[in-house]
Symmetry: C3
Subunit: 265 residues, 3 copies
């Protein structure tokens, strides 16, 4: 498999507007800088429209959303849709409280998303598949992740990315799985959120008809960077969070090509 | 002394709802993951009641509290009291501004706390003992910390944990001190806040009649992890913050048993 | 050149009230602790006046500003002006949206700033010089940075500090440049914001008639710490963020004296 987008992200330095949660702002911004993108962290509705005119992509992450964040998300999302830049949804803990269910429903009704990234529990909720989520963690369920991601992609007309020990990506037709990664990922808060941001960066340099490949490459690059970062760390999750940023900055196409285990389902 | 709770935290992975300040969200979440708990960071009043139905413990930290945070704290705290899960208060800078004094008073009047963790200045304020706090730092005073923590425990019918170079824990009867730790702790923002979160995780797996031991074990485990983390670091507070997360993830009962210096006062 | 202020910051441990953005709170607080100051992170208007009575300096950073933050900034800034403590402005992304332009204008009209620190794009906007900013990054322009910083200093009657690969500092008469630093600085989110906070700490221990030297020393100390931190790191921006905190904690006057490349323009 050929990887083309990392190079483009670095060459074009896409500005990614992140409306994200208060836990992961710093980690997301540093991760975006490391991969070669330019983060713009703003949750203000007052400037949410303006930003879409110079941003290359928008990320909406509902990890912590107060009332004014929702307003900013709606203004930004609709403006991004008008301008035509890609919008990524990260539905953190989407199904676990009535509040999050309502907000997720509203965002999905009013904004067209180019991609949705979540863990198994969040994607199962969006797909209407039964699942036992645990707060913002993936939890447990019997659903087949490849079916879940396929459903999300079809239902919301977007690229679905279900991330976990194995990642599943679908455009509603094709389904691909990526076996790279590390058990240290879920030990670092915001590691899923950063993947959502990196997907946005990749989409920011991709043509509208090649979004499946862009999301696939983003997930593969991230999983490979994590695999490299985890080497020799045992349970040291502090080191992993730091080394993940280093490896994103050091990542080369040749490393991704050599290590990525991508398979069509 | 026997240590039993670290094992239980890892086995039962308690979900800790943290309504905490914007400075320490990431560090607290990563520290909770490292010790074996599942952090749920949310400051939204709209979902504060819902969360208590699947959380095992609630942490309320007033480090930075806007109006909507106060509302979330009150909704969450009362719901947690109804449901019967433990609630921990971290009264950051409690005495230093009129605004914090008012909020602290209101929280203490409307919510029953299972434990209160603070530095000497914050606990002295709660105990009504004169003290020269310095912002959110402990400051200086002549009060006896064992008397202060004893007073807090009696006055608010909870476990008091006064943390500093030496930690003092009391249930209003017994008083214990823990001599482990490191001078690097106060050099890392949120190191006290993370202890508050870990106390909540420990209480989340403890029986209501064994909370003194759970808080004591949480403090001892944390102080020992810090002691291990600080080895050879001189003044390198950046490394300390990271290594503390690593050591929490690597911590074993045997290490705590071998190193903990716990004494009844 | 003689460096006198690092010693004073460590001896007097100035309390710096930071009203700053949600991306950089933890990094700024840890950096302030490392240099020897005491951070107080609060964005609540309700306590913004109280805090000026025990703070030694105030930092106002507009990286992410919701409506209540603006209120806190105005209350705090005016109170700091009345009390006579120094106030630093960090106009993050000042020119890039209408919302930021309005807030910047209002802050500059209602508060007297002792120092303003920004990147080339932000300072060019304040000076009314044409520049192509890119979100919160410096962007590109043809303006001469020494003229820009000189203009900002004259126009707002303050010390201007334009930071980048080379830093420029001016009091409206003298202009100085500092050639130390590292290309890794812009790869770490909040590295400029932390410099703003450290400038505030230095001003908190300086006499009102020596603010130019205090800002100059703060910038030189920070750039030298970054230079030391970057050694051998290649593109490892994760390591750089951490090592910068370490180097601030380990920094000695002799290191600054030996390495600082300060030149009058």
């Amino acid at each position: 498999m050929q990887f083309r987008y990392l190079h483009q992200v670095r060459a074009r330095n896409p500005l990614v507007h992140c409306i994200t949660n208060i836990v992961v702002t710093q980690f997301s911004a540093n991760g975006l800088l490391a991969i070669g993108a330019s983060p713009f962290m703003s949750t203000m509705a007052e400037e949410a429209e303006d930003i879409q005119h110079f941003a290359q992509a928008l990320l909406i992450n509902i990890g912590t959303i107060n009332r004014s964040d929702v307003e900013a998300m709606l203004v930004a999302g609709k403006a991004a849709n008008r301008v035509g830049i890609p919008v990524v949804l990260d539905p953190v803990g989407a199904g676990v409280t009535e509040y999050r269910r309502n907000i997720t429903r509203r965002l999905l009704a009013e904004i067209r998303f180019s991609a949705i990234r979540g863990n198994a529990g969040e994607m199962a909720y969006l797909a209407g598949v039964e699942w036992q989520s645990k707060g913002v963690d993936a939890g447990r369920g019997n659903g087949d992740p490849s079916e879940i991601v396929h459903k999300v992609a079809r239902q919301y007309h977007c690229i679905g990315a279900l991330s976990g020990a194995t990642d599943f990506i679908s455009d509603g037709e094709k389904i691909v799985k990526i076996k790279n990664g590390s058990p240290l990922f879920p030990q670092v808060t915001g590691s899923g959120c950063l993947l959502g941001a990196i997907i946005a960066a990749y989409l920011g340099v991709a043509a509208a008809n090649d979004r499946f490949n862009a999301v696939l490459e983003a997930c593969a690059a991230y999983a490979v960077a994590g695999e490299c970062a985890a080497q020799g760390l045992d349970r040291r999750s502090g080191d992993f969070a730091l080394e993940l940023i280093n490896q994103l900055a050091l990542l080369e196409d040749s490393t991704i090509c050599a290590r990525a285990e991508v398979e069509y389902v």
